[in-house]
């Protein structure tokens, strides 16, 4: 089970809502000081998994060990040591920045003498000095996220759960937000972050791709990318839309995406795929050049989440 080096260890984690398995027999290991990413489409079970790991939802089956606490049994003890940033802004919109933080400090039983300097420190660190007396409901999206993060780390938790923390903020704010996350990781905090942005997933130290409540791929971003050798092609053609139609039913092709005036092809593991694509295009009367290209995380994601339907097609 969890050692000093393991922050989260879950085996066979399952959550059923009625007949739907939102999380389906999921195994997960997160080491300390990792920035662990959950990448997956809406409804893939990211939030449900995080809520079970925090002790907010009872698993239907499976064992969870978080920071040495058995969940759900030790959930209350765990709550003092974790921070959970909800997907939706969940601080009080009718309290000011300062009042929200003071409330959270008190709820975490922080003595007043310690709370005041800590709040001051966080307000400075997350650039909220000018907004101190402003109602949280009137903050911008990025400011709200920074306030939420400040509230989540106020009691210096060892482990942070962040559920799609940047879904409502602009790219600049997202960058700043991720800088803050890495600062926290440097200080020794373990982070589990869910997202559906590829660029964010790429920044994680480890990554799990979730689909229909299962982990369909996991590893470091480099490992995941290395798992797709020779499987991504770039087709340069004056008629990318016609090329797309021509390749749609070619066996071995998983996904096609038009990128500007070229076509990106993701294929199953098949050494011959390059020549077969070229042959098909030629027989369709299209002039095109086919080159191998480096895979990106989106390819990994599409390849991983396309698997079930691929299997279905093969068995049919």
């Amino acid at each position: 089970m969890a050692s000093a080096e393991t922050a989260i260890h879950a085996r066979g984690l399952t959550k059923r809502f009625g007949t739907l398995a939102a999380v389906d027999n999921l195994d997960l290991t997160v080491r300390r000081r990792e920035v662990y990413g959950f990448l997956g489409p809406n409804g893939s079970g990211k939030s449900t998994t995080i809520r079970m790991l925090c002790g907010l939802l009872h698993p239907s089956a499976g064992d969870i060990d978080v920071l040495g606490c058995q969940i759900p049994r030790d959930a209350e003890a765990l709550k003092r040591r974790i921070g959970y940033m909800t997907q939706r802004f969940s601080l009080y919109e009718d309290l000011t920045v300062e009042e929200n933080l003071a409330f959270l400090a008190a709820v975490h039983d922080m003595p007043r003498a310690k709370a005041r300097p800590r709040i001051q420190q966080l307000v400075e660190r997350f650039w909220l000095e000018k907004q101190r007396k402003q109602l949280a409901g009137t903050l911008s999206g990025g400011q709200k996220q920074r306030l939420a993060l400040a509230g989540t780390v106020l009691h210096k938790p060892d482990l942070l759960f962040l559920d799609e923390p940047t879904s409502a903020v602009d790219p600049q704010s997202r960058r700043e937000f991720w800088d803050s996350l890495f600062e926290l990781a440097d200080e020794g905090t373990t982070l589990l972050v869910s997202t559906h942005y590829m660029d964010e997933a790429e920044r994680c130290t480890r990554l799990a791709i979730l689909d229909h409540g299962r982990i369909v791929a996991d590893g470091t971003p480099q490992e995941l990318l290395a798992g797709l050798p020779g499987r991504t092609l770039l087709v340069d053609t004056p008629e990318p839309r016609r090329a797309q139609r021509a390749l749609r039913d070619l066996p071995g092709v998983i996904a096609l995406a038009q990128i500007g005036m070229s076509l990106r092809v993701l294929a199953r593991d098949d050494a011959e795929i390059g020549s077969r694509v070229a042959a098909r295009l030629q027989s369709a009367g299209l002039t095109a050049t086919v080159d191998a290209t480096a895979p990106n995380l989106e390819d990994v994601f599409v390849a991983a989440t396309a698997k079930p339907s691929e299997r279905a097609r093969e068995s049919a």
Partner: protein, 363 residues
């Protein structure tokens, strides 16, 4: 339970309340409005009640008597009828609120004074009209002063509601009704609002305990309830001269216990519902039986036994006994302990159930 955490919930609630102008206005607005509306509807002298006359005597004296009654301004004699059936029909239809009947043997009755020579029939379904009837009943039919016989000049026949209630009963009862409505309403949305706005998910991921959360949400409203009590009592005194015959301290103690009972009920409702709208609906669902069965609207003794049993579990029933006892009969709390004990039991049960239902989980 940590006092620091409990205190933080109380402070947070007060800060939110301070910025919630609508609720703030309701705290003072509801009691003031209800008291003024109810109070004046009851105490204001009724003028110009639509009235029919059935004069079967047709004498100079009978006509003079009717004119004299009309001159009081209480009744407006709009029509004259020729049969008792007509009166019946007009009353039922609501076209008249009262009828003056002068029997054929009016002159004989005036002389012999063994039966009342004038009969006034009133629509007892409306409280205000009963009050008017009492005014008319005092009309001096026998002009000579010092008439001490045991037959009055006017016989009042109260249709639909044979029991007349003292208007002064209503203001003490209003304290109870206003507290019931506002206290239950405010707390019933308290927890569910946190759920709706998404704050609950953040809260339950912290070390805050169900007791701290529940009690922390109730405490600020105890102060607000006492403030409302003060507003109603002051207005009741200034506007309507409602007496306080017992001790003020007893009255506030009773109010304190009753407020807590209502807040517990509100918090309990809050744990049952998923949205603020549902919470409000359910609160109103608890108001109606309390208003109807507690003795606020209808005399308790007149209700069927089954209804009385139901009423015994309602806080308002017990508070009405307390507040009427203290304010009107000058009783003290030691005499009224069964009602106080009933409220105490209600609080314990409601709070225990509510806290057990506040789970720090989302499923």
């Amino acid at each position: 339970m940590s006092l620091r955490r409990l205190g933080s919930i109380v402070v947070k609630e007060l800060r939110q309340l301070r910025r919630d102008r609508l609720t703030l206005a309701m705290i003072i607005g509801i009691p003031t409005m209800q008291l003024v509306l109810f109070g004046y509807a009851i105490n204001l002298d009724v003028r110009n009640l639509e009235t029919a006359v059935l004069d079967q005597a047709h004498t100079a004296r009978s006509r003079e008597l009717v004119a004299g009654m009309a001159a009081t301004g209480v009744v407006h004699i709009g029509r004259s009828v020729s049969s008792a059936q007509e009166i019946d029909a007009l009353l039922r239809a609501g076209e008249i609120k009262a009828a003056i009947v002068l029997p054929a043997d009016f002159e004989t009755r005036m002389e012999r004074r063994d039966r009342p020579p004038v009969q006034i029939i009133v629509d007892g379904s409306e409280q205000v009209i009963q009050a008017a009837a009492r005014q008319l009943a005092a009309y001096p039919v026998f002009q000579d002063r010092g008439w001490t016989g045991n037959v009055g000049g006017v016989e009042v026949v109260n249709f639909y509601n044979p029991e007349r209630r003292a208007a002064v009963n209503t203001v003490p009862g209003l304290v109870g009704m206003i507290l019931t409505m506002t206290m239950v309403l405010f707390t019933s949305i308290a927890l569910v609002r946190e759920r709706e706005r998404g704050n609950l998910e953040m809260l339950i991921a912290t070390p805050v305990s169900p007791w701290e959360l529940t009690v922390g949400k109730i405490l600020p409203f105890i102060g607000i309830g006492l403030l409302q009590t003060t507003v109603v009592l002051l207005l009741g005194d200034v506007l309507f001269n409602v007496p306080l015959r017992g001790s003020l301290l007893d009255l506030y103690l009773a109010a304190l216990v009753f407020i807590t009972a209502n807040l517990s009920l509100g918090i309990f409702i809050s744990t049952l519902t998923r949205t603020q709208f549902q919470a409000m609906q359910m609160s109103f669902f608890t108001f109606l039986p309390q208003i109807l069965l507690s003795g606020f609207m209808f005399p308790f003794a007149g209700m069927p036994i089954a209804a009385q049993h139901i009423a015994e579990v309602m806080p308002l029933t017990h508070f009405l006994r307390l507040v009427r006892g203290i304010m009107l009969r000058g009783a003290d709390l030691t005499e009224l302990w069964p009602s106080l004990a009933a409220l105490g039991a209600f609080i314990v049960v409601m709070l225990a159930v509510a806290v057990s239902r506040v789970r720090k989980r989302l499923d």
